[in-house]
């Protein structure tokens, strides 16, 4: 009996050692859930600790890709945040995509007309920086209308500084960071950018980094 107990304890010790060796984050790259998109990304998925831009028109599919990646990043227990600067995220669709709404924090700064105005865009960026840097969330999606909406216009130098701070916050927090933007919208300095577009043959996606057009792919065919 005593031998059995020792064996059990030794087995448990070994199990603890094994679990402790397990990295805090199971994977550095988070798959988007779409093979064509993953194929365009270095590492086969969205990296943690760096901002990735998803740029596209209003119905280009970028939100669905972001939510899929968020679900993968959250796993069974993690938390995620969505900074909804446009006030357009529709939770029933989010739940239908398989994301656990209980573990999704939605941050929706209110503007004078219910949406995000100029001051609210700054608030939303500030909130994004805080969420990204906290390390409490496995993934953060930032959907703040900058550049595409004249109401949300911010000074260039100020905006640049905020975006650079956002990038530093993502590095500090180490979680998945996705920026949803418009095709002609402001770019986050140094971020990998996926441009999604809707053509006659279906949704298309291509990856760009800085000035380079790195790849070109077809997301799906209708």
């Amino acid at each position: 009996m005593a031998v059995d107990a020792r064996e059990i304890i030794e087995g448990l010790r070994e199990e603890i050692r094994r679990l402790e060796r397990r990295p805090a984050h199971p994977a550095f790259f988070i798959p988007s859930g779409c093979a064509e998109v993953d194929a365009l990304l270095p590492g086969g998925g969205f990296p943690r600790g760096a901002i990735t831009e998803l740029a596209g028109s209003a119905a280009s599919g970028k939100t669905e890709i972001a939510l899929g990646a968020l679900t993968a990043a959250m796993g069974d227990e993690g938390l995620a945040a969505y900074v909804d600067g446009r006030g357009e995220l529709y939770p029933p669709a989010v739940a239908a995509l398989g994301l656990d709404l209980d573990r999704l924090l939605v941050v929706r700064p209110k503007g004078p007309d219910g949406g995000a105005g100029g001051g609210e865009a700054a608030h939303a960026l500030w909130a994004s920086e805080l969420l990204l840097a906290s390390g409490a969330f496995e993934g953060v999606v930032v959907d703040v209308p900058i550049g595409s909406d004249p109401r949300c216009a911010m000074g260039g130098a100020r905006l640049d500084a905020m975006l650079r701070r956002l990038r530093a916050a993502a590095e500090k927090g180490g979680g998945l960071a996705l920026w949803l933007g418009a095709p002609e919208g402001t770019r986050v300095p140094g971020a990998v950018r996926l441009e999604l577009s809707e053509g006659r043959t279906g949704r298309r996606v291509r990856r760009t980094f800085a000035r380079e057009v790195a790849a070109f792919g077809v997301h799906h065919a209708a």
């Binding site: 669905e64 529709y90 029933p92 398989g98 219910g114």
Partner: protein
């Protein structure tokens, strides 16, 4: 008959086993309470500090050691006390406040005892039957229980005497009149009580006076008297007193049951004008409040902070938390942020911190690989966001069974669920597999209606103008822009709410050239077309 009864019950019960009870006595509680409040509010001692005494009806109840050294005695008139100590500061006794302190301590002690009784103005009795659970590495469980109880008192800013014995009367008597810390083994209560005055048994005043007249001074004197004689002379009360003197008290505890969520308040020594000053006091309040909640197995999900301004006015704020917690230090993140955003018109004279909403707090045992700082970081970030953006700007959504699309979800406070509280992974996987993912858009018309919802819903639908040929919709005009309709799903009718604001809409998923999949509807009321969302 009376004598027979007395003789029949006059045998001490040598084999009887009485419950183990831990008695805690908080000597001079009124004075301790005042000193505790001053320590929590100010910090620095003024150079001209005067000796302090609490008074009731013009008589001294308790006084500080310095006043005692100068000749002040408890029970003497204040005038007489001031003759001995001219600069004596007198503070009236507040029985209600003292009782509140005892109740708070009783709640905090529930963390180590299954039942706590408030047994008098300065005494608490704890059920010590679970002392064996404190045994660790061969330590004596009862000694550990006593030490832990004294520690909790100290954390609450109070000092106490403690005695663990069998039965409530020995425990109470030894705590009040015995040594500072005492542990009496079962069966030895009579010997431990024998040196104490008869007053320790808290008999009826008349009986105590009559015993005194007979020369009975100590409990030992009473225990040595023949029980039959006591029963003959004093009746059942005399016999009961003899049993108590033998340490024989089978009466159970009468547990204190908290009726309200706890609140702690503090009058500041001087009006506070800085956040740091306020936080100094709030830290103590938060610790006390947290201990009280922990004793009840609860954690706060919403706190209310009330600041009384000097000379008048009050500011109240409520702070919600992502998960129930009784850890005061985690509340301080939120309190600091919230106070920092307040624009107070006057200095703060008093603060009160109360629990508005509480929930059972799970034990905070971290799993392997979990980062303890993550929980603190979550509270901190939520507190800062709520302070700057307002708590209504942060939410967790919950689907609601409503047909009106814009009312199909509700917002609630974000409360991060722990392991086992979320939907099972299996269910999530099933739902995930059933969804219409990006690559399955071609087949979306066949999906169940509740899955075909746009990821973005416009707060205000935008008007569309239909353009067609031969009764077929070929294009839509959105503002100045005209886009071709590439595909159009069959209509999904959503209608209802006839009792309030009825609506009747035919929704379509329309693929528009250069724009993508959009959610449009035709309002049956006027036949107009609207853009309501994007399948982004």
């Amino acid at each position: 008959m009376q004598l027979e009864l007395g003789v029949g019950r006059a045998e001490a019960r040598p084999g009887a086993v009485f419950p183990r009870v831990l008695g805690l006595c908080l000597p001079d509680l009124s004075l301790q309470r005042v000193l505790r409040a001053r320590e929590a509010s100010g910090g620095d001692q003024p150079l001209d500090r005067r000796p302090l005494a609490t008074v009731r009806d013009g008589c001294v109840v308790a006084c500080e050691a310095e006043a005692r050294e100068r000749g002040v005695r408890g029970g003497e008139p204040l005038v007489q006390a001031r003759a001995a100590c001219a600069d004596l500061e007198a503070v009236p006794v507040d029985d209600a406040e003292d009782r509140a302190v005892l109740e708070g301590l009783a709640e905090a002690l529930l963390v180590i005892a299954p039942a706590v009784e408030i047994a008098g103005p300065e005494v608490l009795l704890l059920d010590g039957s679970g002392a064996h659970l404190f045994v660790r590495h061969g330590d004596d469980g009862e000694r550990m229980l006593i030490e832990r109880a004294v520690e909790i008192c100290a954390e609450q800013g109070l000092r106490c005497r403690a005695a663990l014995a069998s039965g409530r009367t020995p425990a109470r008597a030894l705590a009040r009149y015995g040594p500072a810390l005492a542990s009496v083994p079962p069966g030895a209560a009579a010997a431990a009580l024998s040196a104490l005055p008869v007053a320790a048994l808290e008999l009826a005043p008349d009986l105590e006076r009559r015993l005194g007249a007979l020369g009975v001074r100590s409990v030992g004197d009473l225990a040595r008297l023949p029980p039959a004689t006591l029963a003959h002379r004093f009746g059942p009360a005399g016999l009961a007193a003899w049993h108590l003197a033998q340490g024989d008290d089978p009466a159970p505890l009468s547990p204190y049951l908290p009726q309200r969520l706890p609140q702690e308040s503090l009058d500041l020594e001087g009006p506070a004008e800085s956040v740091e000053q306020l936080l100094f006091g709030l830290r103590r309040l938060a610790d006390r409040l947290g201990a009280r909640l922990a004793g009840r197995g609860l954690g706060a999900t919403r706190l209310r902070l009330a600041l009384r301004l000097d000379p008048s006015g009050e500011e109240r704020v409520e702070i919600a938390f992502a998960s129930p917690t009784s850890t005061g230090s985690r509340w301080l993140f939120a309190l600091r942020e919230r106070i920092g955003t307040l624009e107070l018109k006057a200095p703060v004279a008093a603060v009160a911190l109360g629990v508005v909403e509480a929930a059972p707090a799970p034990a905070e045992q971290l799993g392997l690989g979990e980062r303890p700082q993550r929980l603190a970081a979550l509270e901190a970030v939520l507190a800062r966001l709520a302070a700057r953006l307002g708590s209504e700007a942060l939410f967790a959504a919950e689907p609601v069974d409503r047909h009106r699309p814009e009312a199909a979800y509700a917002t609630g406070a974000f409360a991060a669920k722990r392991r086992g509280e979320t939907r099972s992974g299996r269910e999530r996987k099933t739902r995930s597999a059933a969804r219409g993912g990006p690559s399955s858009v071609a087949g979306w018309a066949a999906l169940p209606a509740d899955l075909v919802r746009p990821t973005r819903l416009l707060a205000r639908p935008r008007p569309l103008v239909a353009l067609g040929e031969g009764g077929r919709l070929t294009a839509l005009r959105l503002g100045e822009r005209t886009v071709r309709v590439l595909a159009l799903s069959p209509a999904e009718r959503l209608c209802g709410e006839w009792w309030g604001e009825p609506f009747d809409r035919d929704y379509h998923r329309a693929r528009l050239e250069g724009l993508g999949d959009c959610w449009i509807f035709r309002d049956a009321a006027d036949g107009r077309l609207w853009l309501h969302g994007f399948f982004d």
